[in-house]
Amino acid sequence: MHSLNNPQLMREIIMDHYDNPRNRGLVNDETYKKVNMNSETCIDNLDIQVKFDGDKIEDIRYDGEACAICTSSTSIMSELIIGKTKEEAKEIIENYMNMIYEKEYDPEILEEAIAFQNTHKQANRIKCATLGWNGLIQLIKESEE
Protein backbone atom coordinates (compact mmCIF):
# COMPACT_ATOMS: atom_id res chain seq x y z
CA MET A 1 0.00 0.00 0.00
CA HIS A 2 1.17 3.45 -0.82
CA SER A 3 1.67 5.74 2.13
CA LEU A 4 -0.88 8.20 0.77
CA ASN A 5 -3.51 5.53 0.28
CA ASN A 6 -5.70 6.61 3.16
CA PRO A 7 -9.15 8.13 2.65
CA GLN A 8 -8.75 10.71 5.38
CA LEU A 9 -5.46 11.91 3.94
CA MET A 10 -6.80 11.93 0.38
CA ARG A 11 -9.77 13.97 1.53
CA GLU A 12 -7.46 16.46 3.23
CA ILE A 13 -5.37 16.79 0.09
CA ILE A 14 -8.44 17.54 -2.03
CA MET A 15 -9.88 20.01 0.47
CA ASP A 16 -6.52 21.72 0.87
CA HIS A 17 -6.20 22.29 -2.88
CA TYR A 18 -9.87 23.32 -3.15
CA ASP A 19 -9.61 25.87 -0.33
CA ASN A 20 -6.17 27.11 -1.37
CA PRO A 21 -5.71 26.38 -5.05
CA ARG A 22 -2.07 26.71 -6.17
CA ASN A 23 -1.15 28.68 -9.29
CA ARG A 24 -4.70 29.92 -9.68
CA GLY A 25 -5.34 33.18 -11.52
CA LEU A 26 -4.62 34.00 -15.14
CA VAL A 27 -1.75 36.20 -16.28
CA ASN A 28 -1.91 38.82 -18.97
CA ASP A 29 1.08 37.57 -20.92
CA GLU A 30 1.14 36.81 -24.64
CA THR A 31 3.83 34.17 -24.21
CA TYR A 32 1.33 31.88 -22.46
CA LYS A 33 -0.77 29.53 -24.59
CA LYS A 34 -4.38 29.49 -23.50
CA VAL A 35 -7.37 27.18 -23.82
CA ASN A 36 -10.90 27.32 -22.42
CA MET A 37 -12.14 24.02 -21.06
CA ASN A 38 -15.89 24.21 -20.72
CA SER A 39 -17.61 20.99 -19.77
CA GLU A 40 -20.62 20.42 -21.96
CA THR A 41 -22.36 18.30 -19.39
CA CYS A 42 -21.69 20.10 -16.14
CA ILE A 43 -20.82 23.48 -14.73
CA ASP A 44 -17.02 23.33 -14.73
CA ASN A 45 -15.53 26.06 -16.85
CA LEU A 46 -11.79 26.76 -16.61
CA ASP A 47 -9.32 28.73 -18.67
CA ILE A 48 -5.91 27.05 -18.66
CA GLN A 49 -2.67 28.83 -19.51
CA VAL A 50 0.68 27.17 -20.10
CA LYS A 51 4.05 28.80 -20.68
CA PHE A 52 6.53 26.68 -22.60
CA ASP A 53 10.26 27.32 -22.65
CA GLY A 54 11.44 25.12 -25.47
CA ASP A 55 10.84 21.63 -24.25
CA LYS A 56 10.14 22.69 -20.69
CA ILE A 57 6.79 23.57 -19.11
CA GLU A 58 7.72 26.70 -17.27
CA ASP A 59 4.36 27.71 -15.81
CA ILE A 60 0.72 26.68 -15.60
CA ARG A 61 -2.13 29.00 -14.61
CA TYR A 62 -5.89 28.48 -14.57
CA ASP A 63 -9.05 30.23 -13.43
CA GLY A 64 -12.80 29.99 -13.76
CA GLU A 65 -15.74 28.37 -12.06
CA ALA A 66 -15.37 24.77 -11.03
CA CYS A 67 -16.32 22.24 -8.37
CA ALA A 68 -14.03 20.90 -5.66
CA ILE A 69 -12.90 17.90 -7.69
CA CYS A 70 -12.12 19.95 -10.79
CA THR A 71 -10.40 22.77 -8.93
CA SER A 72 -8.23 20.55 -6.75
CA SER A 73 -7.27 18.14 -9.53
CA THR A 74 -6.15 21.09 -11.67
CA SER A 75 -4.26 22.63 -8.75
CA ILE A 76 -2.42 19.39 -8.04
CA MET A 77 -1.68 18.99 -11.74
CA SER A 78 -0.11 22.44 -11.88
CA GLU A 79 2.21 21.63 -8.98
CA LEU A 80 3.17 18.29 -10.45
CA ILE A 81 3.87 19.51 -13.95
CA ILE A 82 5.51 22.92 -13.57
CA GLY A 83 9.23 22.56 -14.24
CA LYS A 84 8.92 19.25 -16.06
CA THR A 85 9.83 18.58 -19.69
CA LYS A 86 7.04 17.71 -22.10
CA GLU A 87 8.15 14.08 -22.09
CA GLU A 88 8.06 13.91 -18.29
CA ALA A 89 4.70 15.63 -18.29
CA LYS A 90 3.29 13.15 -20.77
CA GLU A 91 4.34 10.27 -18.58
CA ILE A 92 2.64 11.78 -15.55
CA ILE A 93 -0.49 12.51 -17.59
CA GLU A 94 -0.58 8.96 -18.93
CA ASN A 95 -0.32 7.51 -15.44
CA TYR A 96 -3.01 9.87 -14.16
CA MET A 97 -5.40 8.92 -16.94
CA ASN A 98 -4.64 5.24 -16.38
CA MET A 99 -5.55 5.67 -12.73
CA ILE A 100 -8.81 7.48 -13.59
CA TYR A 101 -9.81 4.83 -16.13
CA GLU A 102 -8.84 1.91 -13.87
CA LYS A 103 -5.79 0.75 -15.77
CA GLU A 104 -2.36 0.05 -14.35
CA TYR A 105 -0.42 3.06 -13.15
CA ASP A 106 2.55 4.03 -11.03
CA PRO A 107 1.28 5.75 -7.85
CA GLU A 108 4.75 7.10 -6.97
CA ILE A 109 4.97 9.32 -10.01
CA LEU A 110 1.51 10.83 -9.31
CA GLU A 111 2.29 12.02 -5.78
CA GLU A 112 -0.75 13.89 -4.39
CA ALA A 113 -2.78 13.24 -7.53
CA ILE A 114 -3.50 9.73 -6.27
CA ALA A 115 -6.15 11.39 -4.11
CA PHE A 116 -8.34 10.97 -7.20
CA GLN A 117 -7.93 7.20 -7.41
CA ASN A 118 -11.59 6.64 -6.46
CA THR A 119 -12.98 8.79 -9.25
CA HIS A 120 -14.21 5.82 -11.28
CA LYS A 121 -16.64 4.97 -8.50
CA GLN A 122 -18.45 8.24 -9.19
CA ALA A 123 -18.51 7.99 -12.94
CA ASN A 124 -20.15 11.40 -13.32
CA ARG A 125 -17.09 13.01 -11.72
CA ILE A 126 -14.53 11.71 -14.23
CA LYS A 127 -15.12 14.78 -16.34
CA CYS A 128 -14.43 16.99 -13.29
CA ALA A 129 -11.19 15.20 -12.39
CA THR A 130 -9.85 15.38 -15.95
CA LEU A 131 -10.98 18.79 -17.23
CA GLY A 132 -7.77 20.64 -16.32
CA TRP A 133 -5.60 17.70 -17.37
CA ASN A 134 -7.26 17.55 -20.76
CA GLY A 135 -6.59 21.26 -21.18
CA LEU A 136 -2.91 20.63 -20.55
CA ILE A 137 -2.89 17.75 -23.05
CA GLN A 138 -4.45 19.99 -25.66
CA LEU A 139 -1.92 22.80 -25.11
CA ILE A 140 1.06 20.41 -25.24
CA LYS A 141 -0.30 18.94 -28.47
CA GLU A 142 -0.78 22.41 -29.99
CA SER A 143 2.77 23.37 -29.00
CA GLU A 144 4.09 20.44 -31.01
CA GLU A 145 2.14 21.14 -34.19
Binding site: C42, I43, I69, K121
Partner: protein
Protein backbone atom coordinates in the same frame (compact mmCIF):
# COMPACT_ATOMS: atom_id res chain seq x y z
CA UNK B 1 -57.48 11.75 -2.51
CA UNK B 2 -55.18 9.07 -3.89
CA UNK B 3 -52.89 6.60 -2.19
CA UNK B 4 -49.30 7.37 -3.15
CA UNK B 5 -48.08 3.92 -2.12
CA UNK B 6 -50.58 2.32 -4.43
CA UNK B 7 -49.58 4.68 -7.24
CA UNK B 8 -45.92 3.78 -6.79
CA UNK B 9 -46.80 0.19 -7.65
CA UNK B 10 -47.55 1.41 -11.19
CA UNK B 11 -43.95 2.56 -11.75
CA UNK B 12 -41.32 -0.13 -12.44
CA UNK B 13 -38.52 2.38 -11.72
CA UNK B 14 -39.86 2.82 -8.18
CA UNK B 15 -39.83 -0.89 -7.52
CA UNK B 16 -36.30 -2.20 -7.47
CA UNK B 17 -34.22 0.41 -9.30
CA UNK B 18 -31.16 1.38 -7.31
CA UNK B 19 -28.60 4.13 -7.71
CA UNK B 20 -25.23 3.79 -6.04
CA UNK B 21 -26.59 0.71 -4.27
CA UNK B 22 -29.53 2.59 -2.69
CA UNK B 23 -33.20 2.55 -3.72
CA UNK B 24 -33.69 5.36 -6.21
CA UNK B 25 -35.19 8.59 -4.87
CA UNK B 26 -36.07 10.50 -7.97
CA UNK B 27 -36.23 14.27 -7.38
CA UNK B 28 -35.41 15.48 -10.88
CA UNK B 29 -38.92 15.47 -12.28
CA UNK B 30 -38.37 18.90 -13.82
CA UNK B 31 -35.93 17.17 -16.18
CA UNK B 32 -38.03 14.12 -16.98
CA UNK B 33 -40.47 11.83 -15.23
CA UNK B 34 -40.74 8.09 -14.64
CA UNK B 35 -43.20 6.02 -16.67
CA UNK B 36 -46.12 3.96 -15.38
CA UNK B 37 -46.58 0.42 -16.71
CA UNK B 38 -49.70 1.50 -18.58
CA UNK B 39 -47.68 3.88 -20.78
CA UNK B 40 -44.94 1.30 -21.35
CA UNK B 41 -47.58 -1.26 -22.33
CA UNK B 42 -49.31 1.08 -24.76
CA UNK B 43 -46.03 1.75 -26.58
CA UNK B 44 -45.14 -1.96 -26.63
CA UNK B 45 -48.62 -2.80 -27.80
CA UNK B 46 -48.27 -0.54 -30.82
CA UNK B 47 -44.84 -1.94 -31.64
CA UNK B 48 -45.96 -5.51 -31.10
CA UNK B 49 -49.48 -5.64 -32.43
CA UNK B 50 -50.31 -2.89 -34.91
CA UNK B 51 -47.14 -1.12 -36.05
CA UNK B 52 -48.31 0.31 -39.35
CA UNK B 53 -48.07 3.87 -40.61
CA UNK B 54 -50.68 6.53 -39.95
CA UNK B 55 -52.80 8.33 -42.57
CA UNK B 56 -51.41 6.20 -45.36
CA UNK B 57 -52.90 2.82 -46.13
CA UNK B 58 -56.17 1.56 -47.43
CA UNK B 59 -56.12 -1.48 -45.22
CA UNK B 60 -57.38 -2.33 -41.74
CA UNK B 61 -54.00 -2.13 -39.99
CA UNK B 62 -53.41 1.44 -41.07
CA UNK B 63 -56.95 2.35 -40.12
CA UNK B 64 -56.33 0.99 -36.63
CA UNK B 65 -53.20 3.15 -36.32
CA UNK B 66 -55.13 6.22 -37.50
CA UNK B 67 -57.80 5.62 -34.91
CA UNK B 68 -55.33 5.36 -32.05
CA UNK B 69 -53.29 8.31 -33.30
CA UNK B 70 -56.26 10.62 -33.68
CA UNK B 71 -57.75 9.37 -30.45
CA UNK B 72 -54.60 10.60 -28.66
CA UNK B 73 -55.19 14.00 -30.24
CA UNK B 74 -58.71 14.12 -28.81
CA UNK B 75 -57.45 13.00 -25.38
CA UNK B 76 -54.88 15.82 -25.50
CA UNK B 77 -57.48 18.34 -26.68
CA UNK B 78 -59.75 17.54 -23.73
CA UNK B 79 -56.82 17.55 -21.31
CA UNK B 80 -56.05 21.23 -21.99
CA UNK B 81 -59.64 22.07 -22.98
CA UNK B 82 -58.84 23.19 -26.51
CA UNK B 83 -61.83 24.18 -28.61
CA UNK B 84 -61.13 21.65 -31.35
CA UNK B 85 -58.78 18.74 -31.94
CA UNK B 86 -57.23 20.46 -34.96
CA UNK B 87 -55.59 22.89 -32.52
CA UNK B 88 -53.35 20.08 -31.22
CA UNK B 89 -50.12 19.62 -33.21
CA UNK B 90 -47.81 16.76 -32.25
CA UNK B 91 -44.15 17.83 -32.09
CA UNK B 92 -40.98 16.34 -30.66
CA UNK B 93 -41.33 18.30 -27.39
CA UNK B 94 -41.58 21.79 -25.90
CA UNK B 95 -38.37 22.90 -27.57
CA UNK B 96 -39.68 21.87 -30.98
CA UNK B 97 -43.05 23.54 -30.30
CA UNK B 98 -41.46 26.82 -29.18
CA UNK B 99 -39.17 26.84 -32.21
CA UNK B 100 -42.17 26.24 -34.46
CA UNK B 101 -43.92 29.26 -32.94
CA UNK B 102 -40.84 31.50 -33.12
CA UNK B 103 -39.89 30.59 -36.70
CA UNK B 104 -43.34 29.71 -38.06
CA UNK B 105 -45.24 32.62 -36.58
CA UNK B 106 -42.64 35.09 -35.21
CA UNK B 107 -40.43 35.16 -38.28
CA UNK B 108 -43.38 35.72 -40.62
CA UNK B 109 -45.16 38.36 -38.50
CA UNK B 110 -42.45 40.46 -36.85
CA UNK B 111 -40.99 43.57 -38.44
CA UNK B 112 -38.09 45.92 -37.75
CA UNK B 113 -38.31 47.42 -34.22
CA UNK B 114 -41.19 45.23 -33.07
CA UNK B 115 -40.73 43.95 -29.53
CA UNK B 116 -40.86 40.46 -28.03
CA UNK B 117 -41.22 40.35 -24.25
CA UNK B 118 -39.67 37.53 -22.22
CA UNK B 119 -38.12 37.26 -18.71
CA UNK B 120 -34.65 36.29 -17.48
CA UNK B 121 -36.15 33.19 -15.88
CA UNK B 122 -37.12 31.64 -19.22
CA UNK B 123 -35.64 28.35 -20.33
CA UNK B 124 -33.14 28.45 -23.22
CA UNK B 125 -35.84 27.05 -25.53
CA UNK B 126 -38.04 30.08 -24.89
CA UNK B 127 -35.11 32.50 -25.22
CA UNK B 128 -32.70 31.43 -27.97
CA UNK B 129 -35.26 31.08 -30.80
CA UNK B 130 -36.50 34.61 -30.03
CA UNK B 131 -32.94 35.98 -30.04
CA UNK B 132 -32.46 34.51 -33.50
CA UNK B 133 -35.84 35.59 -34.86
CA UNK B 134 -35.20 39.11 -33.53
CA UNK B 135 -31.84 39.16 -35.30
CA UNK B 136 -33.40 38.05 -38.57
CA UNK B 137 -36.34 40.47 -38.47
CA UNK B 138 -34.78 43.49 -36.78
CA UNK B 139 -37.18 43.08 -33.88
CA UNK B 140 -35.97 43.40 -30.27
CA UNK B 141 -36.14 41.06 -27.31
CA UNK B 142 -37.03 43.01 -24.17
CA UNK B 143 -37.39 41.78 -20.60
CA UNK B 144 -40.31 42.05 -18.22
CA UNK B 145 -38.97 42.75 -14.72
CA UNK B 146 -39.51 40.06 -12.09
CA UNK B 147 -40.57 41.24 -8.65
CA UNK B 148 -38.27 40.88 -5.63
CA UNK B 149 -39.32 37.25 -5.19
CA UNK B 150 -38.77 36.36 -8.82
CA UNK B 151 -42.44 36.42 -9.76
CA UNK B 152 -43.95 37.75 -12.96
CA UNK B 153 -46.79 40.14 -12.14
CA UNK B 154 -49.45 41.57 -14.43
CA UNK B 155 -48.40 45.03 -13.27
CA UNK B 156 -44.85 44.48 -14.52
CA UNK B 157 -46.14 43.09 -17.80
CA UNK B 158 -48.17 46.28 -18.18
CA UNK B 159 -45.08 48.41 -17.54
CA UNK B 160 -43.09 46.52 -20.15
CA UNK B 161 -45.69 46.76 -22.92
CA UNK B 162 -45.11 49.47 -25.52
CA UNK B 163 -46.86 50.19 -28.80
CA UNK B 164 -44.14 48.06 -30.44
CA UNK B 165 -44.86 44.93 -28.41
CA UNK B 166 -46.14 42.11 -30.61
CA UNK B 167 -45.40 38.91 -28.68
CA UNK B 168 -45.15 37.98 -25.01
CA UNK B 169 -43.45 34.60 -24.50
CA UNK B 170 -43.35 33.37 -20.91
CA UNK B 171 -43.41 30.14 -18.93
CA UNK B 172 -46.59 29.40 -17.00
CA UNK B 173 -44.26 28.02 -14.31
CA UNK B 174 -40.51 28.54 -14.76
CA UNK B 175 -38.14 25.61 -14.39
CA UNK B 176 -35.89 27.08 -11.70
CA UNK B 177 -37.93 29.69 -9.81
CA UNK B 178 -41.17 27.74 -10.11
CA UNK B 179 -43.70 30.56 -9.74
CA UNK B 180 -47.12 30.22 -11.34
CA UNK B 181 -48.03 33.32 -13.32
CA UNK B 182 -51.47 34.97 -13.68
CA UNK B 183 -51.88 33.80 -17.26
CA UNK B 184 -55.50 34.85 -17.74
CA UNK B 185 -54.81 38.40 -16.54
CA UNK B 186 -51.74 38.62 -18.74
CA UNK B 187 -53.65 37.34 -21.79
CA UNK B 188 -56.56 39.73 -21.16
CA UNK B 189 -54.13 42.62 -20.92
CA UNK B 190 -52.08 41.56 -23.94
CA UNK B 191 -55.14 41.09 -26.12
CA UNK B 192 -56.22 44.68 -25.47
CA UNK B 193 -53.06 45.64 -27.35
CA UNK B 194 -53.35 42.85 -29.95
CA UNK B 195 -50.32 41.13 -28.51
CA UNK B 196 -49.95 37.38 -28.98
CA UNK B 197 -49.18 35.38 -25.81
CA UNK B 198 -46.98 32.29 -26.06
CA UNK B 199 -46.90 30.03 -22.99
CA UNK B 200 -44.14 27.57 -22.23
CA UNK B 201 -46.09 24.91 -20.37
CA UNK B 202 -43.29 22.36 -19.96
CA UNK B 203 -43.22 22.76 -16.16
CA UNK B 204 -46.92 23.54 -15.63
CA UNK B 205 -49.05 21.25 -17.80
CA UNK B 206 -47.83 18.08 -15.98
CA UNK B 207 -48.60 19.53 -12.54
CA UNK B 208 -51.72 21.68 -12.66
CA UNK B 209 -54.98 22.07 -14.54
CA UNK B 210 -54.53 23.74 -17.92
CA UNK B 211 -57.49 25.37 -19.63
CA UNK B 212 -56.49 27.23 -22.76
CA UNK B 213 -59.99 28.57 -23.33
CA UNK B 214 -60.20 29.98 -19.85
CA UNK B 215 -56.81 31.73 -19.97
CA UNK B 216 -57.16 32.67 -23.63
CA UNK B 217 -53.50 31.88 -24.31
CA UNK B 218 -52.65 31.99 -28.02
CA UNK B 219 -49.95 29.34 -28.18
CA UNK B 220 -48.91 26.70 -25.64
CA UNK B 221 -45.96 24.29 -25.74
CA UNK B 222 -45.44 21.21 -23.57
CA UNK B 223 -43.58 17.89 -23.48
CA UNK B 224 -44.82 14.35 -23.03
CA UNK B 225 -41.87 12.96 -21.11
CA UNK B 226 -42.30 15.44 -18.26
CA UNK B 227 -45.76 13.98 -17.62
CA UNK B 228 -45.15 10.21 -17.63
CA UNK B 229 -45.11 9.95 -21.43
CA UNK B 230 -42.31 8.87 -23.77
CA UNK B 231 -39.45 11.15 -24.80
CA UNK B 232 -39.50 12.71 -28.25
CA UNK B 233 -43.16 13.66 -28.17
CA UNK B 234 -44.73 16.98 -27.28
CA UNK B 235 -47.53 19.31 -28.18
CA UNK B 236 -47.97 22.65 -29.85
CA UNK B 237 -51.36 24.12 -29.10
CA UNK B 238 -52.40 27.17 -31.09
CA UNK B 239 -55.69 28.91 -31.67
CA UNK B 240 -56.89 27.53 -34.97
CA UNK B 241 -56.79 30.83 -36.85
CA UNK B 242 -53.24 31.45 -35.61
CA UNK B 243 -52.13 27.98 -36.68
CA UNK B 244 -53.55 28.81 -40.12
CA UNK B 245 -51.23 31.84 -40.23
CA UNK B 246 -48.24 29.83 -38.98
CA UNK B 247 -45.79 28.55 -41.55
CA UNK B 248 -44.58 24.94 -41.18
CA UNK B 249 -40.81 24.75 -40.68
CA UNK B 250 -40.63 21.41 -42.45
CA UNK B 251 -42.43 20.17 -45.53
CA UNK B 252 -42.91 16.66 -46.83
CA UNK B 253 -45.27 13.77 -47.11
CA UNK B 254 -48.57 14.08 -45.33
CA UNK B 255 -48.44 17.87 -44.94
CA UNK B 256 -49.56 18.79 -48.47
CA UNK B 257 -52.71 18.02 -50.35
CA UNK B 258 -51.19 18.51 -53.80
CA UNK B 259 -48.27 20.09 -55.65
CA UNK B 260 -47.12 20.31 -59.25
CA UNK B 261 -43.82 20.46 -61.12
CA UNK B 262 -43.85 24.26 -61.12
CA UNK B 263 -43.55 24.18 -57.35
CA UNK B 264 -47.06 25.26 -56.49
CA UNK B 265 -47.87 23.61 -53.19
CA UNK B 266 -51.24 23.41 -51.51
CA UNK B 267 -50.75 22.63 -47.85
CA UNK B 268 -53.24 20.75 -45.75
CA UNK B 269 -55.02 22.53 -42.93
CA UNK B 270 -53.70 22.50 -39.36
CA UNK B 271 -52.61 20.36 -37.63
CA UNK B 272 -51.61 18.15 -40.58
CA UNK B 273 -49.57 20.79 -42.38
CA UNK B 274 -47.17 20.72 -39.40
CA UNK B 275 -46.85 16.95 -39.23
CA UNK B 276 -44.85 16.18 -42.37
CA UNK B 277 -43.21 12.79 -42.56
CA UNK B 278 -44.06 9.69 -40.59
CA UNK B 279 -44.86 10.94 -37.11
CA UNK B 280 -43.62 9.54 -33.79
CA UNK B 281 -46.60 7.20 -33.66
CA UNK B 282 -45.64 5.20 -30.57
CA UNK B 283 -44.82 8.50 -28.85
CA UNK B 284 -48.26 9.90 -29.64
CA UNK B 285 -49.94 6.72 -28.42
CA UNK B 286 -47.77 6.75 -25.27
CA UNK B 287 -48.65 10.38 -24.62
CA UNK B 288 -52.35 9.62 -24.97
CA UNK B 289 -51.92 6.82 -22.47
CA UNK B 290 -49.97 9.08 -20.06
CA UNK B 291 -52.74 11.67 -20.14
CA UNK B 292 -55.34 8.97 -19.53
CA UNK B 293 -53.30 7.83 -16.53
CA UNK B 294 -53.04 11.37 -15.14
CA UNK B 295 -56.75 11.92 -15.72
CA UNK B 296 -57.48 8.79 -13.72
CA UNK B 297 -55.58 10.26 -10.74
CA UNK B 298 -57.25 13.65 -11.25
CA UNK B 299 -55.13 16.74 -11.73
CA UNK B 300 -56.57 18.63 -8.74
CA UNK B 301 -55.34 15.87 -6.42
CA UNK B 302 -51.95 15.71 -8.10
CA UNK B 303 -51.54 19.46 -7.73
CA UNK B 304 -52.70 19.48 -4.14
CA UNK B 305 -50.44 16.57 -3.14
CA UNK B 306 -47.39 18.10 -4.81
CA UNK B 307 -47.93 21.37 -2.97
CA UNK B 308 -48.16 19.39 0.25
CA UNK B 309 -44.83 17.70 -0.54
CA UNK B 310 -43.24 21.03 -1.37
CA UNK B 311 -44.45 22.71 1.81
CA UNK B 312 -43.26 19.75 3.86
CA UNK B 313 -39.83 19.88 2.26
CA UNK B 314 -39.48 23.67 2.59
CA UNK B 315 -40.39 23.51 6.26
CA UNK B 316 -37.76 20.84 6.91
CA UNK B 317 -35.13 22.65 4.86
CA UNK B 318 -35.75 25.90 6.71
CA UNK B 319 -35.07 24.15 9.99
CA UNK B 320 -31.49 23.52 8.79
CA UNK B 321 -29.02 26.37 9.08
CA UNK B 322 -26.79 25.27 6.19
CA UNK B 323 -29.41 25.56 3.45
CA UNK B 324 -30.14 28.61 1.35
CA UNK B 325 -33.50 28.52 -0.48
CA UNK B 326 -34.08 30.86 -3.41
CA UNK B 327 -37.80 30.41 -4.03
CA UNK B 328 -39.55 29.53 -0.81
CA UNK B 329 -42.95 30.86 -1.92
CA UNK B 330 -43.16 29.29 -5.35
CA UNK B 331 -44.98 26.11 -6.30
CA UNK B 332 -42.72 24.25 -8.72
CA UNK B 333 -39.12 23.18 -8.25
CA UNK B 334 -37.16 24.21 -5.15
CA UNK B 335 -33.94 26.06 -6.01
CA UNK B 336 -31.37 25.99 -3.22
CA UNK B 337 -27.75 25.57 -2.25
CA UNK B 338 -25.93 23.98 0.65
CA UNK B 339 -23.93 26.88 2.06
CA UNK B 340 -20.25 26.70 1.18
CA UNK B 341 -20.65 23.69 -1.11
CA UNK B 342 -20.43 24.00 -4.88
CA UNK B 343 -23.72 22.71 -6.31
CA UNK B 344 -22.10 19.98 -8.37
CA UNK B 345 -20.22 18.59 -5.37
CA UNK B 346 -23.49 18.55 -3.42
CA UNK B 347 -25.33 16.74 -6.23
CA UNK B 348 -22.61 14.09 -6.11
CA UNK B 349 -23.21 13.65 -2.39
CA UNK B 350 -26.95 13.15 -2.99
CA UNK B 351 -26.09 10.65 -5.73
CA UNK B 352 -24.17 8.58 -3.19
CA UNK B 353 -27.42 8.19 -1.24
CA UNK B 354 -29.41 7.24 -4.33
CA UNK B 355 -31.05 10.66 -4.61
CA UNK B 356 -31.29 12.23 -8.07
CA UNK B 357 -30.95 16.01 -7.73
CA UNK B 358 -29.96 18.41 -10.47
CA UNK B 359 -27.09 20.92 -10.17
CA UNK B 360 -26.25 23.78 -12.46
CA UNK B 361 -27.92 26.56 -14.37
CA UNK B 362 -30.86 24.40 -15.46
CA UNK B 363 -30.91 25.77 -19.01
CA UNK B 364 -31.71 29.25 -17.66
CA UNK B 365 -28.31 30.82 -18.19
CA UNK B 366 -29.30 34.45 -17.72
CA UNK B 367 -31.16 33.80 -14.47
CA UNK B 368 -27.95 34.38 -12.49
CA UNK B 369 -28.42 38.06 -13.24
CA UNK B 370 -31.47 37.90 -11.00
CA UNK B 371 -30.40 35.33 -8.39
CA UNK B 372 -26.85 36.68 -8.01
CA UNK B 373 -25.66 33.11 -7.69
CA UNK B 374 -24.34 31.33 -10.72
CA UNK B 375 -25.48 27.78 -10.04
CA UNK B 376 -28.04 26.10 -7.80
CA UNK B 377 -29.33 22.72 -6.82
CA UNK B 378 -32.87 21.89 -7.84
CA UNK B 379 -35.31 19.35 -6.48
CA UNK B 380 -38.57 18.85 -8.34
CA UNK B 381 -41.28 16.48 -7.18
CA UNK B 382 -43.99 14.50 -8.90
CA UNK B 383 -47.08 12.82 -7.51
CA UNK B 384 -45.24 9.54 -6.85
CA UNK B 385 -42.74 11.09 -4.42
CA UNK B 386 -43.28 10.68 -0.68
CA UNK B 387 -42.59 12.49 2.58
CA UNK B 388 -40.35 9.58 3.60
CA UNK B 389 -38.18 10.27 0.57
CA UNK B 390 -38.02 13.92 1.59
CA UNK B 391 -36.95 12.87 5.09
CA UNK B 392 -34.03 10.95 3.60
CA UNK B 393 -33.15 13.91 1.39
CA UNK B 394 -33.10 16.17 4.47
CA UNK B 395 -30.72 13.80 6.26
CA UNK B 396 -28.29 14.15 3.35
CA UNK B 397 -28.69 17.95 3.37
CA UNK B 398 -27.40 17.85 6.95
CA UNK B 399 -24.24 16.11 5.77
CA UNK B 400 -23.41 18.97 3.42
CA UNK B 401 -20.03 19.67 4.97
CA UNK B 402 -18.95 16.12 4.31
CA UNK B 403 -19.58 16.45 0.60
CA UNK B 404 -16.31 14.73 -0.22
CA UNK B 405 -17.70 11.56 1.36
CA UNK B 406 -19.29 11.03 -1.99
CA UNK B 407 -15.85 10.71 -3.43
CA UNK B 408 -14.59 8.10 -0.99
CA UNK B 409 -17.64 5.87 -0.54
Amino acid sequence: MFDVYEIRQDFPMLNGKTMHGKPLIYFDNGATTLKPQMVIDSVCNYLTNYSGNAHRGDYDLSHEVDEQYENARVITQKFINAKRKEEIVFTSGSTDSLNMIAYGYGLTHLKQDDEILITVAEHASNTLPWFDVAKQTGAKVEYIDLDEKGRLTTENVKKAITDKTKIIAVAQVTNVLGHNIPMKEICDLAHQYNIIVVADGAQSVPHQKTDVQETGVDFLAFSGHKMCGPTGIGVLYGKYELLCETKPMRLGGGSNSRYNHEGTITLKNPPYKFEAGTPHIEGVIGLGSAITYIDSLQMEYIHQYELELRNYCIKKMKALDNIEIYNEDAQGAIAFNIKGVFSQDAASLFNTYGIAVRAGQHCAKILDEFLHVSTTLRVSFYFYNTKEEIDQFIEVCKKGDDFLDAFFE
